[in-house]
């Protein structure tokens, strides 16, 4: 981890204590997780107690304290997707990646999560990869979508 880069992110937000969450979000989106050294650095620069940072970092689901894969796969398990076969989509993703929801593969390529609604029920079943929605997805298409990720 490049501590200089962390400093840049902190400075971009003027080392403002009130920008704490925004800083954490930036670090998260760049590293796909919040490394301990980064949190220590933020605590030191912003003069906020580490306990408060941990409190926030464990409270919001957007943050992760363990390394995540380069590609984040979300499978919607909401009611609408569920009745349209979300479970089969999830099974196909698990087969293709070899990981279960909440896990990350050993190459740090994929992380898999289930979500309860992506807000586009008409497109169900929906899978989201790195923020891009794949609607009406069939289990047979999953492997090719994931193979396109490097």
């Amino acid at each position: 981890m490049d501590i200089k880069r962390i400093d840049e992110i902190i400075e971009k937000h003027d080392s403002e204590e009130s920008s704490l969450i925004q800083i954490l979000l930036d670090i998260q989106s760049e590293h796909h997780w919040l490394p301990k050294e980064a949190l220590n650095r933020v605590a030191e620069k912003l003069q906020v107690p580490l306990s408060r940072i941990q409190h926030i970092a464990t409270f919001y689901k957007a943050f992760s304290l363990v390394p995540k894969g380069r590609h984040e796969v979300h499978v919607c398990m909401g009611t609408a997707c569920h009745v349209r076969g979300a479970q089969r989509v999830l099974d196909a993703v698990q087969d293709a990646t070899g990981i279960k929801p909440g896990e990350t593969d050993a190459d740090l390529k994929f992380s898999l999560e289930t979500v309860n609604c992506l807000g586009c029920c008409a497109l169900g079943p929906v899978m989201e990869v790195d923020g891009k929605h794949h609607g009406n997805i069939a289990p047979s298409q999953i492997a090719s979508v994931l193979n396109n990720c490097d």
Binding site: P49, S51, Q54, H55, T58, F59, Y60
Partner: protein, 210 residues
């Protein structure tokens, strides 16, 4: 400070501005039960065991006595059927988490709470926040904090800070209404003993002892 007249359990009370109902009641010898309240700490209003009934312009409502400020001509009832029922359920819920808490047992007796009403979730902590707030507000060390969310929320000692500060302090222990705090500390202590004391890398492997 201006004087405020109000009525608590039928008694006329003269209070000063900024006092809470718990303070005002105390000044005339009426005790409102509290769990998360501490004189030296900022008002928190987390546990709701101090719930009382107040009448505002004839309308009764339930409020938390430890944070509700005194108001002119307020009518307060610290015990009523409604209040007792709220406290009873709260105690029952908290007992599901901390069945051995002495303070909760006393309250259970008082309000007829059934300790077995809810399935047991022995997390032992009732999230009163006393330890966390005491460490932050009074000691200004932030050695212990809350982590995680919802029903998984729990207290955690941060080894980096706790390793330096807690051993000589431990002032939060007696504040805890349950046994959760001490248990968490004992756990953390085992994790934060410095490597040189534990020998080599700090784990129990036989590889590199000092």
């Amino acid at each position: 400070m201006s004087e405020i007249h109000l009525q608590i359990d039928g008694k006329d009370v003269v209070a000063s501005e900024g006092m809470t109902l718990v303070d005002a009641a105390k000044s005339v010898g009426i005790t409102i039960p509290t769990l998360c309240h501490h004189e030296k700490l900022e008002p928190y209003g987390g546990c709701r065991i101090c719930t009382v009934e107040v009448e505002v312009r004839g309308w009764p409502k339930l409020v938390a006595g430890c944070i509700y400020p005194v108001e002119k001509d307020l009518v307060v009832r610290t015990r009523s059927e409604k209040v007792d029922k709220v406290r009873k359920v709260l105690v029952e819920e908290m007992l599901a988490h901390a069945p051995d808490s002495e303070q909760l047992k006393v309250l259970a007796e008082e309000y007829g709470a059934d300790k077995d009403r809810f399935d047991k979730h022995p997390s032992f902590c009732i999230h009163c926040g006393l330890c966390v707030r005491y460490c932050a507000e009074i000691k200004k060390k932030h050695a212990v904090g809350f982590v995680d969310r919802g029903s998984n929320r729990e207290i955690s000692f941060f080894p980096e800070i706790a390793g330096k500060e807690c051993w000589d302090c431990k002032e939060c222990f007696p504040l805890c209404p349950t046994s959760a705090l001490q248990a968490a500390y004992v756990l953390a202590e085992s994790l934060m003993s410095p490597p040189e004391e534990a020998g080599g890398c700090g784990c129990s492997c036989s590889g590199h002892k000092k």
